[in-house]
Subunit: 407 residues, 2 copies
Amino acid sequence: MKSVQEQMAVISRGAVEVLVVSELEEKLAQSIKTGVPLKIKAGFDPTAPDLHLGHTVLIQKLKQFQDLGHEVNFLIGDFTGMIGDPSGKSETRKALTREQVLLNAETYKEQVFKILDPARTKVVFNSSWMGPMSAAGLIALASRYTVARMFERDDFHKRFTGQLPIAIHEFLYPLVQGYDSVALQADVELGGTDQKFNLLVGRELQKQEGQRPQSVLTMPLLEGLDGVNKMSKSLGNYIGITEPAKEIYGKVMSISDELMIRYYELLSDADLNALQQVKDGVAGVSDGRHPMESKKALARELVARFHGEEAAEQAAAEFVQMFKQKEIPDDVAEIPFVASEPIWVCRLLTEVGLVASNGEARRLIQQGGVKLDGEKITDADLEISPSGEVVLQAGKRRFARVIFRSA
Amino acid sequence: MKSVQEQMAVISRGAVEVLVVSELEEKLAQSIKTGVPLKIKAGFDPTAPDLHLGHTVLIQKLKQFQDLGHEVNFLIGDFTGMIGDPSGKSETRKALTREQVLLNAETYKEQVFKILDPARTKVVFNSSWMGPMSAAGLIALASRYTVARMFERDDFHKRFTGQLPIAIHEFLYPLVQGYDSVALQADVELGGTDQKFNLLVGRELQKQEGQRPQSVLTMPLLEGLDGVNKMSKSLGNYIGITEPAKEIYGKVMSISDELMIRYYELLSDADLNALQQVKDGVAGVSDGRHPMESKKALARELVARFHGEEAAEQAAAEFVQMFKQKEIPDDVAEIPFVASEPIWVCRLLTEVGLVASNGEARRLIQQGGVKLDGEKITDADLEISPSGEVVLQAGKRRFARVIFRSA
């Protein structure tokens, strides 16, 4: 097993907060001494089994714990999922049947076992201890926390002061999540930064039960392809882990250099030394790795993770081939471009600096001297949708890869 | 069965609020038509089976419903009593064992069946439906109410704004009480004015379950012997229903005429006509009943209720005898006197107008001309504790019954 210091370096990578560091170091030291792995817990909602890279930030961290020799408990919160929200006020929480939950769990496993080692992962359902709990048991649990403490949770506070309804049972969910840690006797719980309050409830309930309180590790929410907003399906800025290899590869190649560093940090298996080389390359430090090389390596790693090595190799080859066919050099300058509405091609050519004026752009197009993603443009009034990226070519040698950002 | 109007007159007697009057009238009309009695519910705490007259206000109202032919459900809230308050913050709620609850229930029955007809009273325990409820069931129940609605309850609001802790499970108790009405399919629930919020929760939950919402009847908190504060053991201003016959009789005889009217209204079986005569007597209307006669009748009725007719007759005779022995006339003027500390006997004699000055009082005492409750006073420096009442006599014919009030 690695030393406490080495383990802490891996664990802290990309994390927002570790609470309490000294306690976690103590647990690690004890684990090294006794050979007993730590129990790592992370909870997942049973309603959304179609994962994107944003969801895998936590799973990647679980894998790191696993690689360090610890025991991962992948907790599916089916208890509350099966209750749903009978108040009917929230569209997001519909009661799931036992069958749906089990089906979702299978889909989950299929996906997360592309990252985690199935042999060293315990998949647990909180219905197994919450299901048999009586109303009296829940009342006893509820007596352990005050209303004022609940309002310390940011969203509750905001909704209350904003006069938006909070149903009473919403106060019970953090207690159920906290009790899950008691039931599992978790040593560490991971969650997004938005989970911090709930993770701390777990600590307190464990203390009250005479258990050693779990350490809490919060991970950031992953930015989407635009580099600004949180990755989410509804914003369309995501990479789904079941997307075709070519799509994943292309989307990773489209991100900015800064975002690439972030994805390396949070998603890659590359070790801390390799991560430093990526950062150095983007910063222009000599001995750093060339950003284009780093990006290709990341794209390959992620495709390989979800589709295997062969598919990754093929996606890489296809990507190169596509650029060759289109006679686009593979080190074209990247130009981020903020736009929320379709933009006139002549204006775009001018603004990214490929031509001096809209008039020059129009003439060049009419002469057949402008290409969009390797295809000649004939319509000088063309409007371009600002999504993903495009490669523009003006004349023989002037290229720009335009990466669109939403405003 | 009596008409709707006649029943409403009995039901409304002494009540603070009836919600909603038109609904209750409709229920009564239907009950008359179908011959099906209404289900009347009142809940009692299983922790305090040693009742005083304050507790019997509700029970008296239940008796009136019973006399009107309706079905009384005497609900013992043993479910929450058996949970207690594991937060340890409240000394008042300690978890009771099943045995204690059953023992308390027996003591309860012994006491309330002095008022209610056992044959027409259902004693129910809410543990019979709350015990089998699962944590999931309670969460579903909790989802039906919002935090903001809970804060409409006065005491929650005050505690929250006063930064006093409210444990989460305290928000669940009103829901449990409300659910009791659903489980019983109650038509009417009675409670003290402090229970109004909880009674209305019952209405809402019944509506949500598709039941006809219960009517709500709130009764006032009974004033204690001082006529000001709520009757309570801790204030010492109570008449316990297990006190000896002589004590009960004497205490009733000691109350003011105004308080007597109140006790008649809330505690007596005397009908509405008789009640009017008592009021007229105190108001000095001709044909009214003499207040002393009314008071004796009330004392007799209450002693008979808890100790039987014979004991009542004996207590009445002893009371008369005692006054005769002490040569105290039985229509001595009552003088309320506010004091919170022991008072010098000479000052008291002066202030109630039996003598002209403290000096005269001192001389009269030294001459053996002052009696306290029929006993000659010899010490002119005596201090009198301001509790209950005393009869003072100055000379042969001047009497005053001093009734102490706390400031």
